[in-house]
């Protein structure tokens, strides 16, 4: 049986949330939370007009803006407090908090004012109705099932379809936006996240890993998803030809936005672009060992570099095909953890919320790579996760998960005086951002975990890495980036951490570190970091040990799983001898790769979602791993195909 996580945390948002479940007595949940709402109708309670969404926004985020009469309100999906905060943007104060029966990830306002939020830890989304009195909590109307870890939300242009992405469930589900009945669910590559629909009714889905975007034509009920490849090359006068020719991969595909082209360009009327902030990654050639850890040496383009991939939705291909070096020196302050995006059409501004640097970047949305066309940046409290903008007034709101705050920024500048204009530093002067502290009170016992979480998401900290990377750069949401890196010791794939570290000692592929802090310290050394203090290493370890893994997914053929379990534990296969009960390990190393030293037995917990497999990522699927006749792990290659399928089915339940 899986060991219970001692300190109960909910992992729902990108910056894994801290939720002290023991604290809920402060705000008694509404009676609705005690009921199973999955079969209840989602009909409205009131006939009155509800607060209306601004800017016709049909895309989810961790924060949404509505207008109630003259008041501008923000709804904040707070994974830490498992609540929706209603905030008066103009009044700079929180009005009320609505408790939820799960960890909210995105929030979306429907055309009639009802509110939908994904509950990432419960494989459901909830439909709520605001009160005509904005000071009152939202009423929970109903909940509906969705594949595991529902995340992103969007509406079709006619508001008739509600789209839900499921990250762990690898799916895009289409619901009727009136009845919330499921119309279809499509399988997608791993870690789908944000979703939007263009004017032509085509849905675009970002993926946390793999540098790809899924595309589904909603007008055709039989259409299957296609993929847009977002991989790029780099261009730098310092790079070798081999490195210039290498196609990079990508990660951190949390966000999407879209922008219309200006009508004053011939032929541009009606054209849109889909903007996908992400991080382009060059892990090096896994076939060849590098003279350094993790990827190629710096040559003007870092191994991890932010890029906004600009996709032509009609052609379904990216316009951004290169990363350009702008200097021969290393640069800090880059947006290595992009988390959310929104477009202000009036100024063609792409707003990107960046964790790590804890900033909101205002970019030129019309650039081929808007990250190279930064207009302004605003500092915000730690861990920005969501952004929304009122196009008309230029009011942007940013929700910071770690800082438990909502920041209000008025984007329209105060025109500089003639005297200031004459000086070199003169430029648009933004109004002062103000942050509103949200109602959240983590238990004091979680302080160390919170500090560990903050360290995990910290970029540009020379103690952690010499190139600005954060722990979360590779361990996305505490999990993995699906990347196999070239290192001094050979190819190494990034292991998933969240939910897998309890009882998994020793640590590291070679099992050379007895404790988690020791292993973190060695990894930081490999990254060129100068090192953290012992107490900081302990805090990081404490956070990682309690950060829960992906949600459970019970959808499996019980008979097949039972047969797979028998095979797993059989002496003929011998899997269970090392991978004790599948999830624990024998705590020792084995010679599984004759060309390398012995490797520590890893836990198989959550293995279904952590491809590629083996220390060097040589197997893209579990089926490929179990079918390899050259494998030194068990004898599964000799099994009949049906038995291998049963073994795979069992592994997928771990």
């Amino acid at each position: 049986m899986r060991p219970l996580v001692v300190t109960c945390l909910a992992l729902g948002a990108c910056a894994a949330p801290l939720y002290p479940r023991g604290q809920v007595a402060h705000a008694p949940p509404p009676e609705a939370l005690a009921l199973d709402l999955s079969h209840r109708a989602c009909d409205r309670i009131h006939a009155d007009a509800l607060p209306a969404r601004v800017s016709g926004d049909r895309q989810g985020s961790a924060v949404a803006l509505v207008r109630s009469g003259a008041r501008l309100l923000a709804y904040v999906a707070d994974a830490d407090s498992r609540s929706i905060h209603t905030v008066s943007v103009d009044g700079h104060r929180e009005l009320v908090r609505t408790r939820l029966n799960g960890t909210p990830r995105e929030i979306l306002v429907l055309a009639d004012g009802r509110v939908v939020t994904t509950l990432a830890d419960r494989a459901r989304f909830a439909v709520l109705e605001p009160d005509v009195d904005p000071d009152a909590p939202l009423a929970l109307l109903c909940e509906r099932d969705a594949p595991s870890e529902p995340s992103g939300l969007a509406l079709s242009p006619d508001d008739g379809k509600l789209l839900v992405t499921s990250s762990w469930g690898r799916a895009l589900s289409v619901f009727d936006a009136g009845t919330f009945t499921e119309q279809r669910t499509l399988s997608l590559p791993r870690d789908p996240r944000s979703v939007l629909v263009d004017a032509a009714g085509v849905a675009f889905v970002s993926h946390l890993v793999g540098a790809k975007m899924s595309v589904v034509d909603l007008k055709d009920p039989t259409s299957q998803p296609s993929l847009v490849d977002l991989a790029v090359r780099k261009s730098s006068p310092l790079a070798s030809l081999g490195d210039k020719l290498a196609m990079r991969t990508g990660s951190q595909g949390y966000a999407l936005a879209k922008v219309g082209l200006p009508a004053n360009v011939a032929g541009a009327a009606g054209l849109e672009r889909v903007l996908a902030p992400m991080v382009s990654v060059d892990p090096g050639d896994p076939v060849h060992d590098r003279a350094m850890y993790y990827g190629p040496p710096f040559d003007g383009v870092p191994k991890e570099s932010p890029i906004v991939s600009v996709v032509d939705p009609a052609a379904k291909q990216t316009l951004s095909k290169f990363l350009l070096a702008t200097t021969g020196g290393k640069v800090a302050g880059k947006c290595l953890l992009p988390r959310a995006a929104a477009v202000r059409a009036k100024t063609a501004s792409l707003l990107v919320a960046c964790a790590g640097t804890d900033a909101l970047l205002e970019l030129d949305a019309l650039a081929v790579d808007p990250f190279r066309a930064e207009r302004r940046r605003f500092s915000v409290p730690a861990g920005p996760e969501g952004v929304a903008v009122d196009d008309a007034t230029g009011t942007a709101v940013i929700f910071s998960q770690l800082g438990a705050a909502l920041t209000v920024i008025h984007l329209d500048p105060i025109e500089p005086s003639p005297a200031a204009e004459a000086s070199r530093d003169a430029g648009p002067v933004p109004t002062t951002p103000e942050s509103i502290a949200l109602d959240y009170h983590p238990a004091p016992a979680l302080d160390a975990v919170a500090r560990g979480r903050a360290l995990f998401y910290r970029t540009d900290d020379a103690r952690i890495a010499d190139d600005g990377l954060a722990c979360a750069s590779c361990h996305i949401d505490g999990r993995d980036d699906a990347i196999t890196w070239s290192t001094l010791l050979g190819a190494r794939q990034t292991p998933m951490l969240a939910g897998r570290l309890e009882g998994a000692a020793p640590y590291g592929w070679e099992g050379k570190r007895a404790t988690l802090p020791a292993y973190i310290s060695s990894t930081i050394g490999n990254l060129g970091g100068s090192g953290l203090t012992a107490s900081e290493l302990d805090e990081l370890a404490e956070y990682l040990l309690v950060a829960p893994g992906p949600p459970d997914d019970a959808s499996a053929d019980a008979r097949l799983v039972r047969r797979g379990h028998e095979l797993f534990d059989s002496t003929e296969q011998g899997c269970g001898g090392c991978h004790v009960n599948g999830e624990a390990t024998d705590g020792t190393t084995h010679d599984v790769d004759p060309s390398r030293e012995a490797f520590d037995t890893p836990t198989l917990r959550f293995i279904r979602g952590s491809a590629p497999y083996f220390h060097d990522g040589r197997y893209p699927t579990l089926e490929a791993l179990l079918s390899d006749p050259g494998s030194r792990m068990g004898h599964s290659a000799a099994l009949p195909e049906a038995d291998r399928a049963a073994l795979v089915a069992y592994l997928r339940t771990l």
Binding site: H26, P28, V87, H92, R93, E94, L95, S235, P237, L245, L261, P262, V265, A266, G267, A268, L271, V310, D312, A314, A315, L319, L324, T326, T327, G328, G329, K330, V331, A332, G333, K334, T357, D358, D364, A367, V368, D369, R372, A373, R376, R377, F378, S379, S400, A404, A405, T407, R424, D425, G427, P428, T432, P433, S435, A437, L438, D439, H441, D460
Partner: protein, 345 residues
């Protein structure tokens, strides 16, 4: 016949194209602010106010390196189809060039008075030179009749007139032909001339060149064009394009030439770092219409001013932008003219 005018001197010790640049801090205008400790007096069933969030930190200074971020870029968006279009045609007697050996190098002379990038495609050892100064890369031709009798290689040149250079335009000339390795004389086969139009007046000029010969056209395309831009010499130039033939996309010497294929569904970008010395060279070329032999890149790193170019062909729309960004707290005087030239501040 108009006498040839020597406007280019090539020294074997000339500067290689695309010298490495130096460090530049990334960043942008930052805003400091305050934290409002929100009162929750209207909340229902909620505990007392939480402590305020952490104070906002200014990002004006780079948190890791201590360097400064750039000021907001000054960006001009332009419609590619508003630029002049040039087509190739038969050469004139003013086209072409020749190379002559000198005691300490080579003299490359174009037959018309142009500041030009010249490429001699010697097999396995292409030679690239710029007239108007001492800039070259690769092995110059030996001009040895005994060795190369009758041997020719392809050559092409791209440049703009030393005269007629105004804020609004330049006279662009391009040519293709054969280069006789024995006599070191280029014979033109095709050429074009067109008045290039300013995108950033006085600093960035562009023309659309209809490509020569058979090309595979994308659906909906009636021709295959290239956008060719001319701007001051860059010390650190990155550009999109085939990594195997980087000089097709960009070259830098006396000036920087960028070429972007205008293919439907594609886009191109370049990042060009310009120093005060390069701006001085650009200004002197324009003012005198004569080569500048004394140009020297300062040894210290200068990557304070970045000119970024984007071109995108989406549907029927062919649009572009030029952004000019200067690092903060840099002495702006050497850059004042180019910053002031941008029409869309």
């Amino acid at each position: 016949m108009r006498p040839a005018v020597a406007v280019g001197l090539l020294l074997t010790a000339g500067c290689a194209a695309g010298q490495p640049g130096s460090r530049m801090a990334l960043g942008a205008a930052a805003a400091s602010g305050s934290v409002a400790s929100a009162a929750l007096s209207q909340s229902r069933d909620l505990p007392p106010d939480p402590p305020p969030a952490s104070p906002l930190m200014s990002l004006e200074r780079n948190p890791a390196s201590g360097g400064d971020g750039p000021i907001p870029p000054r960006t001009v968006h332009f419609d590619v189809d508003a630029l002049p279009v040039a087509s190739w045609g038969p050469p004139t007697k003013r086209d072409g060039f020749f190379v002559r050996r000198e005691p300490h190098g080579y003299l490359l002379t174009t037959r018309s008075e142009i500041f030009a990038e010249v490429v001699i495609s010697q097999p396995g050892n292409p030679f690239i030179a710029f007239t108007g100064g001492s800039f070259g890369a690769g092995a110059p031709p030996t001009c040895a009749p005994a060795v190369h009798s009758g041997a020719t290689v392809p050559t092409h040149w791209t440049g703009f007139g030393a005269r007629g250079w105004t804020d609004e335009g330049i006279d662009v000339e391009m040519g293709r032909g054969t280069f006789d390795l024995a006599t070191c004389n280029a014979t033109p086969l095709d050429s074009l001339s067109v008045r290039g139009k300013a995108i950033v007046p006085g600093y960035v000029y562009g023309v659309v060149v209809r490509k020569l010969g058979d090309t595979v056209l994308a659906p909906g395309e009636s021709s295959r064009d290239e956008l060719v831009l001319f701007l001051p010499r860059g010390t650190f130039v990155s550009a999109t394009g085939d990594p195997n033939v980087p000089l097709n996309a960009a070259a830098t010497g006396t000036f920087t030439r960028l070429t972007f294929p205008l293919e439907r569904g594609n886009a191109g970008s370049a990042s060009v770092t310009v120093t005060p010395a390069a701006l001085g060279l650009w200004g002197e070329l324009r003012r005198t219409g004569r080569p500048v032999w004394s140009f020297q890149e300062p040894p210290e790193r200068h990557d304070d001013l970045v000119v970024a170019i984007d071109v995108a062909c989406q549907g029927q729309a062919r649009s572009g932008s030029v952004s000019i960004a200067l690092a903060r707290r840099v002495d702006a005087k050497p850059y004042a003219a180019i910053l002031a030239a941008n029409p869309q501040r």
